[in-house]
């Protein structure tokens, strides 16, 4: 065998071996090229992917700006709070752990699912907040089972806290979770799933100013989402504080006075338009539902018949009643239909267009001139004046004096009210204006509708002798997202001397045993006007055999010259004239005097 071996020819075999070697070299070169492409040409792309892999971005929520009253009392604060987020990306199996998760968080499984389903369109790395305002026990329970639930993250966040509960709740507003629709609409470009945004009040109007800028931190995480320490962070920028014009003491006083009633109080500085009090009753405690979850309280409040969530001061629409007589008087003076001395005889009733209209005082007021008519709030006087003016002129002056349009306060949802005229009636009801209606409108009844805030602004205008102001709620004057540039700031263009007759009447009303005498404050020249709003006509009420008390108005300013404060009070079903509104106004005037006027 050995000899044969020597003569064996291996050239074919060696040839094939060499061919194999070439093939292998080609394949290896091809692989080397592949690695060159991935590691050199595509390096940047894969590098950023690996960074994204190992770094988890966590938001550090910025504390929201505080609300501070004009004297430095903190009305809205932040406290530390903890929330649990579900990061679906961290656990591909998260769906199966939902029942155990519900148990851990002490939530209904259906509630949890509803919560998650709301946000399934969000990217899987975005945490879905499934519970907030955690107790210490809940935090401990979640932390203890971190390995079992890699999809859970606990984050601390500053939570809104209103130290005085319901105080100025309607003005300040409250926060609620940004809805999926709002996120889609791009209304809040900086917000994400589970963020809270201002829903009403100043919280909403100054969202941009208050919100601040969230910080970020990056944690190094492994494939199971376990943290291996912090990599980098950008500190949050806290939101700006908002100094509001609200006066804590006056606001609290007003709310105390409204306790148990339904109504509104507006106090403002007629010089600047700063709103010192914006109270609406009944009210609510926003602390009870500063959460991502529609709490029982909120549902209860929003469905209650007396609408505690409504801000009556700027959303409540009421006929102005006798307060409107001031408008009618101004129109008549300016149109030179009357002077301050023009007198009409009041016998208790009068007939217009074949219908009998009566004065509130059965016996009548006798001969009254303008100041006396205002002092006694004589209906007959104004029936006569109104009839001479006609509805078009009344409506035009009412609008010039601030009714039927927004005051421009920087709060969402303000209502315009309604100044009726023949055109309006034709458009809405398809019938012509009935001349008798003008008589009703002359004393502030009929379809006329105003808000307490409009009445306050109107009163300030009279106290200022024609200078119109815009109500304003902030002192450090950032630009609001809502309100602001509505309506012109020009006065109604009425001769200044015309106001003096009105002011004289208003002074007498309070200080000379007029209808507003219950608002009299010793040592302070309060000028005011009462009003009552017929909810149904007196005839109808008599027919029904039940007495529904009218809404009670009082609006006034003080002192008589260069007024510093305007107080407007509305008490729903408060009774005739100043019966319940005027005493409230007195309390507020006297507190104001105590606090701000030192002789």
């Amino acid at each position: 065998m050995g000899k044969e071996r020597i003569y064996e020819d291996f050239s074919f075999l060696h040839n094939r071996v060499r061919k194999s070697l070439y093939l292998i070299i080609v394949v290896f070169s091809f692989l080397a090229l592949g690695y060159w492409k991935v590691q050199i040409l595509d390096h940047r792309k894969y590098w950023s992917l690996s960074e994204a892999n190992r770094l988890r971005e966590i938001k550090i929520p910025a504390p929201r700006g505080l609300f501070v009253d004009r004297n430095g009392v903190v009305l809205a604060d932040n406290i530390a709070s903890f929330k649990v987020g579900l990061v679906r990306e961290n656990n591909p199996d998260w769906k199966r752990s939902i029942p155990r998760l519900a148990e851990l968080l002490n939530l209904e499984e259906t509630v949890l699912w509803a919560r998650i389903n709301k946000y399934t369109s969000q990217p899987t790395f975005a945490p879905i907040i499934v519970k907030d305002s955690l107790s210490l026990e809940e935090i401990a329970a979640v932390e203890a089972r971190r390995l079992e639930f890699p999809e859970l993250i606990i984050e601390s966040e500053p939570k809104r806290f209103y130290p005085f509960g319901s105080l100025a709740a309607h003005a300040i507003g409250y926060l609620q979770e940004v809805s999926a629709e709002e996120l889609k609409s791009g209304l809040f470009p900086t917000k994400g799933t589970g963020d809270l945004v201002g829903k009403t009040g100043l919280e909403r109007a100054y969202e941009d100013w208050l919100e601040g800028e969230d910080g970020k931190k990056w944690e190094i995480v492994d494939s199971l989402g376990r943290s291996h320490g912090e990599f980098d962070r950008v500190e949050p920028r806290p939101g700006h504080d908002l100094r509001v014009t609200i006066d804590f003491d006056l606001q609290r006083k007003a709310e105390d006075l409204l306790q148990g009633k339904e109504g509104a109080v507006v106090v403002l500085d007629p010089r600047s338009g700063e709103v010192l009090v914006l109270a609406s009753s009944p009210t609510f405690d926003p602390n009870k539902f500063v959460s991502r979850f529609t709490s029982k309280e909120w549902e209860e409040l929003s469905s209650r018949a007396d609408h505690p969530l409504e801000n009556r001061a700027l959303r409540g629409l009421y006929p102005p009643g006798s307060i409107f007589k001031l408008t009618v008087a101004l129109a008549a003076l300016e149109k030179r239909l009357i002077t301050a001395e023009t007198a009409f005889f009041c016998s208790g009733k009068a007939e217009f267009y074949g219908r009998t209209f009566s004065c509130w005082l059965g016996g009548g007021h006798g001969w009254v001139d303008l100041p006396e008519a205002i002092r006694n709030s004589c209906n007959i006087y104004f029936y006569n004046v109104g009839r001479r003016l006609g509805i078009e002129t009344i409506a035009s002056f009412a609008r010039r004096l601030g009714f039927g349009c927004l005051t421009g306060i920087e709060l969402p949802g303000e209502k315009e009210g309604l100044v009726p005229d023949p055109k309006w009636k034709r458009q809405t009801q398809g019938v012509d204006w009935f001349a008798g209606e003008t008589i009703s409108v002359s004393i502030g009844q009929g379809p006329l509708q105003v808000t307490p805030l409009q009445v306050a602004v109107h009163t300030a205008l009279i106290g200022n002798r024609g200078r119109k102001i815009k109500p304003w709620l902030t002192l450090n004057n950032p630009s609001p997202q809502i309100g602001g540039d509505v309506g012109d700031n020009e006065g109604p263009g009425i001769q200044p001397e015309h106001y003096e007759a009105l002011v004289e009447g208003m002074w007498r009303s309070v200080n000379a045993s007029g209808t507003g005498h219950l608002a009299k404050v010793d040592g302070l020249d309060v000028c005011g006007k009462t009003g009552s709003t017929q909810i149904i006509s007196r005839e109808k009420a008599e027919k029904l055999g039940q007495v529904i008390k009218p809404h009670s108005w009082f609006t006034g300013f003080a002192p008589r010259y260069n007024p510093k404060v305007v107080v407007t009070v509305l008490v729903e079903y408060g009774g005739l004239g100043g019966a319940s509104a005027a005493p409230l106004a007195r309390e507020i005037f006297s507190l104001y005097k105590e606090k701000y006027i030192h002789d």
């Binding site: 194999s20 080397a32 991935v38 590691q39 894969y46 590098w47 190094i220 492994d222 494939s223």
Partner: protein, 363 residues
């Protein structure tokens, strides 16, 4: 026992290359698993010692004797494979493990050696440069038996490694170009058939994944995507030893076994991957050059099959981790964690070196 002159003929370069690769493997098994205080690298070190000793032992025995006993070795191997299939318990979803005290062992790996020997012996009597149908059928049958036994474990990856041995020997024996084409067609048909009848869903997914890895980020594409991220983020110089974020933070699956090359690429960059590729190419080149030196046909077949085995496995693994090839369970020879694989490849190289050092007929 062994001639001194023989020692001088031991191919030092091959051994240096093999030990270099093994040490790189040891280093990166350490890098990819030290943080969970595993015993992987110490176990691998033990296996390396065992392998080195086995290498020396194999060198002492003339390969001619081994070829003579190739048939009994082959029969015994198949018997063991059958026993493992029937009796052993499942480990990692497969029945391919033999447990001898604390060493777990995969006979399917060692079967490669038996197949190399039996094929070399089978073809050594074949003196023409053209193949007869009988030869083809015979060699196919020899490979088919262990192939089927391993396929049933089921370990497609290891079984697939038997095929290049068959193909290499047939090619050397003069398989015509026409036949090569036929084999390719047959492989294709087999592939289609196995797609429908044999491949499990996860294996199908892996194949789909090669085409579009982005499709299913957390599913089967996840492994591949993470591996590509690891390799690509390594760049030119890498992130540094033990500093690969993909591997240290466990984004990379099977870091110490099938995907160890990704760890090397991530931590040492293109420099690292090209170094390892070059070491493999160097070893294969050296082995293939040795074929010409072998004194007889059987020896030539042995070396050629050993070279092809290593080339095949290295190419598939290196192509697989970068996404050029479906994820099949073929580890990187000498480097991936796994005692059976390490020992098998050491034995294979030992056979090749054995043939080369005994190239002079008179020694």
């Amino acid at each position: 026992m062994i001639d001194r002159r023989l020692l001088r003929e031991v191919d030092g370069l091959s051994l240096v290359l093999v030990f270099s690769l093994s040490l790189i493997g040891l280093l990166f098994i350490y890098s990819s698993s030290y943080y969970f205080s595993s015993s992987y690298y110490s176990k691998q070190f033990l296996w390396l010692l065992v392998s080195a000793i086995s290498l020396v032992v194999v060198l002492m025995v003339d390969y001619q004797h081994l070829l003579t006993f190739s048939l009994p070795i082959y029969v015994l191997t198949n018997f063991i494979l059958l026993l493992t299939l029937v009796f052993s318990r499942h480990i990692a979803g497969m029945k391919g493990w033999m447990v001898i005290s604390f060493f777990r062992f995969q006979p399917a790996e060692l079967a490669k050696i038996a197949i190399i020997l039996v094929l070399a012996q089978f073809f050594s009597r074949h003196r023409q440069d053209r193949l007869s149908g009988q030869m083809i059928l015979g060699s196919c049958g020899l490979v088919a038996l262990p192939f089927i036994l391993v396929l049933f474990q089921p370990d497609l990856g290891t079984a697939a490694c038997y095929l290049p041995l068959l193909l290499a020997s047939l090619f050397l024996a003069g398989l015509s170009r026409k036949a090569v084409v036929w084999i390719l067609i047959l492989t294709l048909l087999l592939g289609i058939a196995s797609w429908h009848f044999y491949l499990k869903d996860y294996q199908k997914k892996r194949l789909i994944t090669v085409v579009s890895p982005g499709q299913d980020r957390l599913g089967s594409g996840y492994q591949l995507l993470q591996s590509k991220i690891a390799i690509g983020s390594g760049g030119f110089l890498g992130k540094g030893f033990k500093k690969g974020t993909q591997s240290q933070l466990r984004f990379l699956p099977a870091r110490h076994t099938d995907f160890i090359f990704s760890v090397i690429s991530e931590e040492l960059g293109l420099v690292g991957s090209l170094t390892v590729i070059s070491l493999f190419l160097g070893l294969i080149w050296r082995l293939l050059r040795s074929v010409e030196l072998a004194r007889d046909r059987g020896g030539k077949y042995i070396i050629f099959m050993v070279a092809c085995l290593i080339a095949f496995e290295a190419i598939i693994n290196i192509a697989m981790v970068i996404g050029f090839f479906p994820v099949v369970g073929i580890p990187l020879p000498f480097i991936s964690y796994g005692g059976s694989s390490l020992l098998t490849h050491f034995l294979a190289v030992a056979l090749a070196v054995n043939v080369r050092m005994r190239r002079f007929a008179n020694v």
